[in-house]
């Protein structure tokens, strides 16, 4: 079992002939992902790693049915590519582009919500279920980082992901599924929206969230825990505790806070809801050991 993507899902790749698209298509297939068809306007008739390429998504799915769309498309074209995938009925879409205009991101998320689809990203490495399949760009071949296991991971940060999963593995665990919701202020899918999948996934014992300054996604996780909607142990890693107020460090998420979103607020909300919060990557492993020990004693 896995969350979002497994070996049964037929994946369409938009932007498959580009440098990133073809490189990661090769790796997705090597991991075991069922990439069945690709799209790049103007390149119909070519193939990438044996995968046939079409001009448009409609032409592609008319010949080759697919379940999930993986977008290697530049940020300025991502809105169009997401709408193209939604138009063909895709309910699982991953967009990795870093630099999607904010107002495009709003329209992407709105369209996804109104179609009942999940759009993961942008500004993400994507999603992976180690040992099974991935939609995105993960160095799954580094064993000390992507060992298969029973810990779900959700992250707003690409660069912290490897750092934290390495600590999960070092503590003796592995990863069931990892969802990179992305570092943009308006991600297509939010932590709390993915929680039901982790709750119902028998392959996941606990979830690690890698949060950040700004926004309210961590608070929404706390709400889901308090309401009882999510009942598995949660370990949260939150960086930026010492960040000076009012300075914008990296990801744009922080600016759209509306008076909320400080790391201290997030930690308070999560701890109140029963999550264990780490402020160093190494602690994530230790807190997982404690949480799962406690859970198994129940």
């Amino acid at each position: 079992m896995s969350v979002f993507i497994d070996r049964g899902d037929r994946v369409l790749v938009q932007g498959i002939t580009g440098a990133e698209g073809s490189f990661w298509t090769k790796h997705m297939i090597e991991l075991g992902t069922r990439v069945v068809v690709g799209v790049t306007p103007g390149k119909e008739g070519q193939s990438v790693e044996g995968v046939p390429v079409y001009h448009t998504v409609r032409r592609a799915v008319a010949d080759v049915p697919a379940d999930a769309a993986m977008l290697f498309v530049p940020p300025r074209f991502t809105k169009d590519a997401v709408f193209e995938a939604l138009d063909s009925g895709f309910a699982k879409i991953v967009a990795v582009a870093d630099g999607i205009p904010l107002q495009d991101a709003i329209q992407i998320r709105k369209a996804a919500l109104s179609c009942g689809a999940r759009v993961v990203g942008g500004n993400t490495s994507g999603v992976i279920s180690p040992g099974l399949a991935m939609m995105g760009m993960f160095p799954y071949w580094i064993e000390r980082v992507y060992r298969p296991g029973r810990i779900g991971v959700m992250t707003r940060s690409g660069s912290l992901t490897n750092e934290v999963t390495a600590m999960i593995v070092r503590a003796g665990f592995g990863v069931s599924s990892l969802i990179g919701v992305g570092g943009d202020p308006v991600p297509g899918a939010r932590f709390a929206e993915m929680l039901p999948d982790f709750q119902s996934d028998p392959g996941t014992d606990a979830v690690v969230i890698i949060g950040e300054l700004g926004g309210s996604m961590e608070e929404e996780v706390a709400e889901a825990m308090e309401s009882g909607a999510f009942r598995k142990p949660v370990v949260a890693f939150l960086g930026g505790r010492t960040a000076p107020a009012g300075r914008r460090m990296g990801h744009a998420g922080a600016i759209v806070s509306g008076g909320k979103g400080s790391v201290a607020d997030k930690i308070a909300a999560l701890e109140k809801a029963g999550a264990a919060v780490a402020d160093r990557p190494r602690l994530v492993g230790e807190l997982l050991q404690r949480a799962l020990g406690a859970a198994s004693r129940k």
Partner: protein, 395 residues
């Protein structure tokens, strides 16, 4: 990117939002002449991007052109202005203020809409108010595709306590602010305070934008005529040079110069340096699209004369071997005199390790260990650091 008040007000005026009569000035003489032309009393306002200009003495109501000119000198050629990086000044007619309101448009990431915020008390710090008295902030969600509808603005106008006439003006004003928000790809378009002028004789009360804040989405620069970054938007010369390169950079004044990949990881390394008792000289993200810019990044770091450079990455697309190549090249070119601690992992890390060793470094694999080593080096006397440099940058 935040724009200056004068730019925001130009964008407002182009879209029918009433703004005070105003002139942008770059010399004290221009300030004096503008005050004479506009009429006194008038307001002289430093054009800087920081908030709290009033408290910092950067805005003043002046009674005469002479006073305007004298204050203009303080700001444009004197110590006060220099301390705050004032380069331009806006001279503005004084408004006969009856009330002050607040209104802005930003985004609601959860609902995936735009969000109009309004408050009957203007001039406030809205983030502070959101925390302490959220019920006093009116919120109106606006579908980005459908756009702001007049009834939404009208309802806000009446809720702000404006009468029929002023509610009508508010509908027009908010339609203009909506156009600013959409057409400029804004992250935030704010009027704070929004003045309601006093009715005087046969001139009825009216709305006037007292201040203007406009933050533009850098990601949309390609469809916004994409102006190059300009020095005046940045606190420091280094921050400006970094922006020209497209490298995220923040200036601090500690000892450890960060040259890390990814916002999340860099922020955590910043935390860890502080947890370990060290201090940060600069925050610099050398990853994503910049992972081949090691030489430029290290140049920026060295300009701070740090005690140590701390490089931490865990890259996938930003390949470890490519980054290592760049670092080796930078060391060869720039011959840094301070020690360098490198912790470079991810795609191609085996090759990266070889490259770093060949460049005289001692690569690590654990972030916390790297931070501890860097902080410890940053506390050593310079002499030791210099010794490290003589061994080829090995830390």
């Amino acid at each position: 990117m935040k724009l200056f008040e004068y730019q925001a007000k130009d964008a407002f005026a182009e879209r029918g939002i009433p703004v005070p009569e105003r002139r942008l000035c770059a010399t004290p003489e221009e300030v004096r002449a503008a005050a004479a032309a506009i009429g006194c009393p008038c307001v002289v306002k430093s054009q800087v991007l920081r908030g709290g200009r009033g408290k910092a003495g950067l805005v003043r109501l002046v009674a005469s052109p002479e006073e305007a000119g004298a204050y203009g000198s303080e700001l444009l050629t004197g110590g006060l202005g220099a301390a705050h990086g004032v380069r331009r000044v806006l001279v503005e007619e004084a408004v006969d203020i009856g009330r002050e309101l607040y209104v802005s448009i930003t985004v609601d990431p959860l609902a995936a809409t735009a969000l109009v915020l309004a408050c009957a008390e203007g001039g406030v710090d809205i983030e502070e108010l959101a925390r302490t008295a959220p019920e006093r902030i009116l919120r109106e969600r606006v579908d980005l595709d459908v756009g702001l509808l007049p009834f939404q603005a009208r309802d806000l106008g009446y809720a702000l306590g404006l009468g029929p006439e002023l509610s009508g003006s508010f509908v027009t004003l908010l339609a203009g602010l909506w156009r600013v928000f959409r057409e400029k790809d804004a992250e935030l378009a704010e009027i704070n305070p929004l003045f309601v002028t006093k009715a005087r004789g046969d001139r009825p009360a009216a709305l006037v934008a007292g201040d203007g804040k406009l933050a533009i989405d850098d990601n949309a620069a390609f469809r916004q005529g994409g102006a190059e970054p300009s020095r005046e938007y940045f606190d420091s010369e280094l921050a400006f040079r970094a922006a020209v390169e497209g490298i995220p950079y923040l200036q601090f004044d500690g000892d450890v110069s960060l040259m890390c990949a990814g916002a999340g990881l860099t922020t955590v390394v910043y935390d860890l340096v502080n947890y370990e008792g060290g201090s940060v000289a600069n925050y610099l993200e050398f990853g994503g699209p910049n992972y081949k810019k090691a030489v430029r990044a290290m140049e920026l770091c060295l300009a701070n004369d740090p005690k140590v450079i701390l490089i931490v990455t865990f890259g996938t697309i930003a390949r470890a071997d490519v980054m290592a190549d760049g670092i080796a090249e930078a060391i060869a070119k720039l011959k840094p005199r301070c020690p360098i601690v490198a912790c470079i992992r991810g795609t191609g890390e085996e090759k990266a390790v070889e490259t770093l060793r060949a460049a005289g470094l001692d690569p690590l694999f654990d972030t916390e260990e790297a931070v501890r080593r860097a902080v410890s080096l940053s506390k050593a006397p310079r002499a030791e650091a210099t010794r490290a440099e003589t061994t080829g940058g090995r830390a």
